[in-house]
């Protein structure tokens, strides 16, 4: 009750609603958010019989510890031996570490002409202000080419394991689809959607910034791509697959990866070939510090970024519902 407002006006204020919520008179979720009571789990009689049978067989034949001496011995000694083994390994490694060169000492073996050249001539050789980017995309570009193929092959392995291809023989019925929780979409969550509405553009713009500035400031294709991928996953979580499928499907993924990686392969083949034959590539290095500089590093960073972003998103979508 308020002294300044009438009863009717007071009921409209936020303070009144707050008070009711505080006293537990009103649940703000009711009729706003859908909450279904869970059905009790009922098992098919035939399936249950089969499961119990399997369990029995498993316990009798394989995990029958009392009569299976092999398993008994294995269980007993396994813990004992593994503890001893790990302790011994740790002791050996710790002992070994104490003989390694001290950290940060100027006379260490790894402070040699290799690191010196990277630091002194890195900018002049590669045109990249960021020495790390210059190292991974120019000095040791072959390793990075392999590394981006590691990402590619990892996605392919996940596709093998998780992709659900439409199989004509076993056409799933609607009820089975209902049961399949992979097809469930999350319910619209207003808080998440509002936050994502502001955050996703910022995240993606920041990711693009990190990729494009990879040769100037800390960052590059791998980190920027991971940021963009995280932004895409947030968008997917907030708005569901229907929205993301308008611009990103398996086909898009396939072509982006293909174009980015084949550009990477072709560009590097050209540059390796020229390098090995001591030819000029004809790609200008530009002024160090400009966005458009450092020769091939910027386009390669963009390629790596695209591949990483798509890989992150594809992993998430695969684990979520076996396709996107």
């Amino acid at each position: 009750m308020s002294r300044l407002l009438s009863e009717e006006e007071y009921r409209k204020t936020k303070a009144y609603r707050m008070k009711r919520w505080y006293h537990g008179d009103k649940d703000p979720y009711i009729s706003k958010v859908e909450m279904k009571p869970q059905k009790p789990f009922k098992e098919d009689v035939e399936l249950q019989r089969k499961r119990l049978h399997d369990e029995l067989i498993l316990n009798q034949r394989i995990y029958d510890v009392e009569h299976n001496n092999k398993i008994l011995a294995f269980r007993k000694f396994y813990r004992f031996i593994s503890v001893i083994f790990v302790a011994a390994l740790m002791a050996i490694l710790l002992y070994m570490v104490s003989y390694l060169p001290p950290t940060g000492d100027a006379t260490n073996p790894d402070n040699n002409e290799v690191a010196a050249k990277y630091i002194e001539d890195g900018m002049a050789d590669t045109g990249a202000v960021n020495i790390v980017t210059g190292m991974i995309l120019d000095y040791r570009a072959f390793d990075t080419l392999g590394e981006s193929n590691v990402l590619f092959i990892a996605t392919c392995a996940v596709l093998i394991l998780l992709r659900l291809d439409k199989n004509e023989k076993t056409d799933t019925t609607k009820e089975e689809e209902e049961e399949n929780d992979r097809l469930y979409e999350p319910k619209n969550d207003i808080i998440l959607q509002k936050v994502a509405f502001f955050l996703v553009p910022l995240i993606i713009i920041f990711g693009i910034y990190v990729i494009l500035n990879g040769h100037i400031s800390p960052g590059g294709g791998f980190s920027g791509g991971a940021i963009i991928g995280a932004g895409l996953i947030l968008y997917l979580n907030a708005f569901g697959f229907q929205k993301t499928e308008r611009f990103f499907t398996q086909k898009t993924y396939k072509w982006i990866c293909f174009v980015a990686l084949s550009f990477y392969c072709l560009a590097k083949t050209y540059s390796f070939y020229c390098g090995a034959h001591h030819l000029e590539t004809g790609i200008p290095l530009g002024t160090p510090g400009d966005i458009i500089s450092a020769g091939l590093i910027l386009p390669l960073n963009i390629c790596v970024g695209l591949v990483v972003a798509c890989t992150m998103y594809a992993f998430y979508a695969m684990f979520r519902k076996g396709g996107f």
Binding site: Y99, E113, A141, F142, A157, D165, S271, F272
Partner: protein
């Protein structure tokens, strides 16, 4: 610099790029493209081998604009070129021999993924063979591991998924140990390029400043690669993976993937640490003991098996044991025998896997021994090929296994009694055990069954027969004209260091 010196670089980039290209192809195009790529890489390697045998030297190839300690580098000698040629040949034959099973066992829409794995696996094997840089080797070891995992689990049933999980856990442990070893090696030498590390290691070893980290890193690298190539106590991932994967995968995994890691280990012995230091460090004695154990225990396990594919898989454990035993002898002769055994085992094991798949096909797709009775009559070519593979494994003259056993024995007799005796005794025991389980199988497939003796016609038989004949020919060439091959290995190892 002649044009031929570009060939290692072309081979690696070609297979890497075709992996990417295959991702947009359908099944048929992917298969044709893969065949084409293998033929091209095979002929490139052959030309390179002939050229390098002519010059008798090795060369390095700069990957990029920066010379070696700063940029990447690959290196090719006669041994590398020959290995590349051999690996491509075996991979090609294994794929052709298992094509029928591939179509039956793998979902139609995932076959192009299989060829992506194959292309990238080939590129990683080539990179492991040619690389002159330890970190490049590690990157391609990663590709190799994931590709092998994909090859196991592409036939999707519970057993292969379980096998792939086991493989992944063990292989990651191996990769982790390898990486730690490389880090320590970098810490005490400051280099990643093989030839530079070798110089620094010689210096460090002579001064004795970092001896303990050096020994620890060599040990970690050895154990890591031994886990990945299934040396005896670390072999637990192997039987399920080889026994349940589709037959091409099993043949490729047993004859190429594990051999790629072993070749990398040889490379590390010769080109990174230096063979004298390895011998001096006594680490090879441990490899020797585990190799001997593997020779015996692998065969004992194989005798107990009731499943033909798992039996062949356990036989691989024994054969990997032979290779590590050859390392353990600590002489160049032993190393030559090991390298020869890599070739011999790769050719016989892929032959056995492909032939066994033909035998199980005519026995109601059962891998159990009871069902296989008389299958040699039902599928004569597979029966013949299996018998030849078995003879080669046991070590009968005319076949490649005989030569490798002979080389091991020759290498052992030059040593002191402490190594001669165990080697000879284990060789003898292992040969007898091999004979027990292989001859048991051969006798069984040629035991006639009453009533049912008609041949069963297989679809697509021409390609299968062609593959088996090619593999038999390779095996016989290794067994009958071994002298030029041994000479090639010796000269290759001589310029390796």
């Amino acid at each position: 610099m002649t044009f031929i010196e570009n060939f290692p670089f072309f081979s690696i980039l070609l297979s890497l790029g075709s992996g990417v290209l295959t991702s947009i192809m359908n099944k048929k195009a992917a298969r044709i493209w893969n065949t084409l790529i293998m033929l091209v890489i095979g002929s490139l390697s052959f030309v390179l081998l002939v050229y390098l045998l002519g010059t008798g030297e090795s060369f390095t190839f700069m990957m990029g604009h920066f010379p070696a300690p700063w940029g990447n580098e690959i290196r090719a000698g006669a041994l590398e070129a020959g290995m590349a040629l051999f690996f491509v040949m075996i991979m090609f034959l294994s794929l052709k021999g298992g094509e029928q099973h591939l179509d039956e066992e793998i979902e139609e829409s995932k076959i192009n993924l299989y060829y992506i794995m194959i292309n990238l696996l080939l590129s990683s094997l080539l990179a492991l063979i040619y690389t002159n840089d330890l970190f490049t080797a590690y990157v391609f070891v990663e590709i190799n591991t994931i590709a092998a995992c994909g090859l196991i689990m592409i036939r999707q049933n519970g057993r292969t998924i379980e096998a792939a999980t086991r493989y992944m856990i063990m292989a990651q442990l191996g990769s982790g140990l390898l990486l730690m070893g490389l880090c320590i090696l970098y810490d005490i030498t400051g280099h990643l390029l093989m030839s530079n590390i070798k110089e620094s290691v010689a210096l460090v070893y002579a001064e004795g400043t970092y001896n303990i980290p050096l020994i620890a890193s060599i040990a970690m690298i050895c154990v890591g690669l031994a886990i990945k190539s299934a040396l005896y106590p670390f072999h637990t991932w192997l039987p399920n993976a080889y026994g349940n994967a589709t037959v091409s995968s099993a043949a490729i995994l047993s004859s190429l993937v594990s051999k790629g890691y072993i070749f990398l280990l040889i490379k590390i012995f010769y080109r990174v640490v230096g063979f004298d230091i390895i011998v001096d460090s006594k680490i090879i004695n441990i490899l020797f003991v585990f190799g001997l154990l593997g020779m015996i225990m692998g065969s004992v396990n194989a005798i107990q098996e009731n499943d033909i594919r798992r039996m062949i898989a356990f036989s691989s454990v024994a054969q990997i044991g032979y290779i590590y035993m050859g390392f353990g002898l600590g002489t160049t002769m032993g190393m030559v025998a090991s390298v020869f055994h890599i070739l011999s085992h790769a050719s016989s094991k892929s032959l056995l896997f492909i032939a066994a798949s033909g035998l199980t096909d005519v026995s109601g797709h059962s891998k159990k021994f009871e069902k296989l009775t008389g299958s040699g009559f039902r599928n004569p070519i597979a029966g013949l090929a299996f018998s030849i593979g078995a003879c080669s494994m046991v070590g009968l003259p005319l076949f490649s296994g005989f030569i490798s056993k002979l080389l091991f024995a020759q290498a052992a007799v030059q040593l002191s009694l402490s190594k001669l005796l165990p080697t000879m005794i284990c060789l003898a025991i292992s040969t007898v055990l091999n004979a027990i389980y292989f001859m048991k199988t051969v006798l069984r497939i040629y035991t006639p069954v009453k009533g049912n003796r008609e041949k069963i016609e297989m679809p697509n038989k021409g390609k299968y027969t062609f593959t088996l004949v090619c593999m038999i020919v390779i095996n016989m060439i290794l067994g009958c004209c071994s002298q030029p091959i041994v000479d090639w290995i010796e000269s290759g190892l001589a310029i390796f260091g």
